[in-house]
Symmetry: C2
Subunit: 297 residues, 2 copies
């Protein structure tokens, strides 16, 4: 069955990424927890903590099925209420403030032959925006997208700007990336097989991209004041995930496995009252780049 | 006008509480920011940080008016869309993990002669639940309630258990307190004047109660591991406020003053993966007391 092939391919991506992250980190190993969902299916939550590079990060795989909650069913306008969903979700919080936070998610959802689609995305949240790194990141994503459709990158880049946005702060979570949802043959001109290939291509950008960004910045010296800024940026990350992120909300509302859902939250975050970057500081430079519509290429 | 008298009385409560907190802290002063709201009204945000006792805390007063956002108007089913709202909101995050976090809110909302009511509450979030302190807290609240209506304390205590609940963790935020909303003559048998007096009585419990809890615990020795537990409990506090708190949600959705709304968030919070209290530890004892329906009296 198609859905089983998707889940198997996603599992392999999880394995491949975990292996690569252990190598690049050089110290931390993943702790794995296998969990089963009451209504059907389960997952493999893998978390690494206190590494050379990664302070806390998770690479989660799940494949779940069962009956859709009534509220979700209503919004999909379907008769059938059996669903299947599989995906890989990653968030990495590095120790060094010059290494960016990264997030990646690929997922497939199916209710019946007509009601099934792919979604996902990858976005970068540098504590300090380094323009050459930002260009590298977006360029790599564009290359991955361009193999499939010329319109993918500009379209999904704009969607990422809109999605990874902290409305109450009027700032983006970071420098964006790509975000897409409900991809099917009707709206892409690709077959399901081809969209699966695109989804895997997005998954496969993660390791080379993040390894490169780690290698570029892992040895940059930092001070206590750089750490403080990192804690502030992380508190914004927590605000986004708890207030806006659809995956987190869906998980909390449907009694998902809490520790797997909230592995995305930062190891340490700080909320100072009225915290503001000093004029003309690197922190202010970063703040000024947290907006939609920047063309990094 | 009644509403101006309410706002004035609330302002005085803010002044009185700030004065008392500065005295008990002995080091920190409040920073004040006066702000104006675009649609009408404004407030006085007062925050203290890095005190002897208080690591971060805010005592906010606001009195705002104008046109209700369409979404809120619909839920109230009123023709008129002019509103007035005033309130005092407090959250205190102490340095010492044996001093509890406290929250208090009193508020009055008015649209027209028929559509107006009082709301509020006070609840305690000890990092370590100390049963004698919990009893003292609830006893004091019961005394304040009993002067008005015998049914208030049991009713509002049960409402607090339901409201200050972190559903996705299946645990209460702390040991509860009292919570009430939409109090009017029809549902209390009291006049608006009497409900105002009740609201002020709730406001006036704050200082004696918290001063007593500070004095009892401010000199208790603590270790790094007690602090770590405090950071964990604070991360749960942040989860509650960002995911469930109505005041926070309303503020974020209606473009309130962000730093005033989010002053309730903890100075430092930590999310460790799968953090759990050790068997038979004081931390586990506290975890076991984070549930609804405990009769502290």
């Amino acid at each position: 069955m198609f859905k089983d092939r998707v889940a198997d391919a996603y599992k392999q991506i999880q394995d491949h990424i975990c292996k690569g992250l252990v190598e690049v980190d050089g110290k931390a190993q993943f702790e794995e927890e296998l969990w089963e969902r009451e209504g059907g299916g389960g997952g493999r939550t893998r978390v690494m903590q206190h590494g050379n590079v990664i302070e806390k990060g998770g690479v989660n795989f799940s494949a779940v099925y069962g009956k859709l909650p009534e509220s979700v069913k209503r919004s999909f306008k379907v008769e059938n209420d059996e669903f299947f969903a599989t995906g890989v979700s990653i968030v990495m919080h590095p120790e060094n403030p010059f290494v960016p936070i990264i997030h990646m998610n690929i997922r497939y959802f199916e209710m019946d032959e007509q009601t099934r689609w792919f979604g996902g995305g990858i976005d970068l949240t540098p504590h300090y925006v380094i323009p050459t790194d930002a260009r590298f990141f977006h360029y790599y994503l564009k290359q991955a997208c361009d193999q499939f459709k010329a319109e993918f990158y500009p379209k999904f880049k704009a969607l990422a700007d809109d999605y990874f946005f902290i409305r109450h702060r009027n700032e983006t979570r970071g420098i964006g990336g790509i975000f897409y949802d409900r991809l099917k043959p009707e709206n892409t001109g690709l077959s399901y097989e081809e969209i699966l290939d695109f989804s895997l291509a997005v998954g496969n950008t993660f390791l080379p991209v993040y390894t490169e960004l780690i290698d570029r910045n892992r040895h940059t010296d930092y001070t206590e004041s750089h750490k403080e800024w990192q804690y502030l940026r992380r508190s914004r990350y927590a605000e986004f995930n708890l207030v806006y992120d659809s995956g987190t909300k869906f998980g909390l509302e449907t009694n998902g496995r809490i520790e797997s859902i909230l592995m995305s939250l930062p190891p340490t975050a700080k909320w100072h009252y009225n915290a503001q970057a000093l004029p003309n500081s690197p922190e202010e430079e970063t703040s000024n780049l947290l907006k939609k519509g920047i063309d990094w290429l």
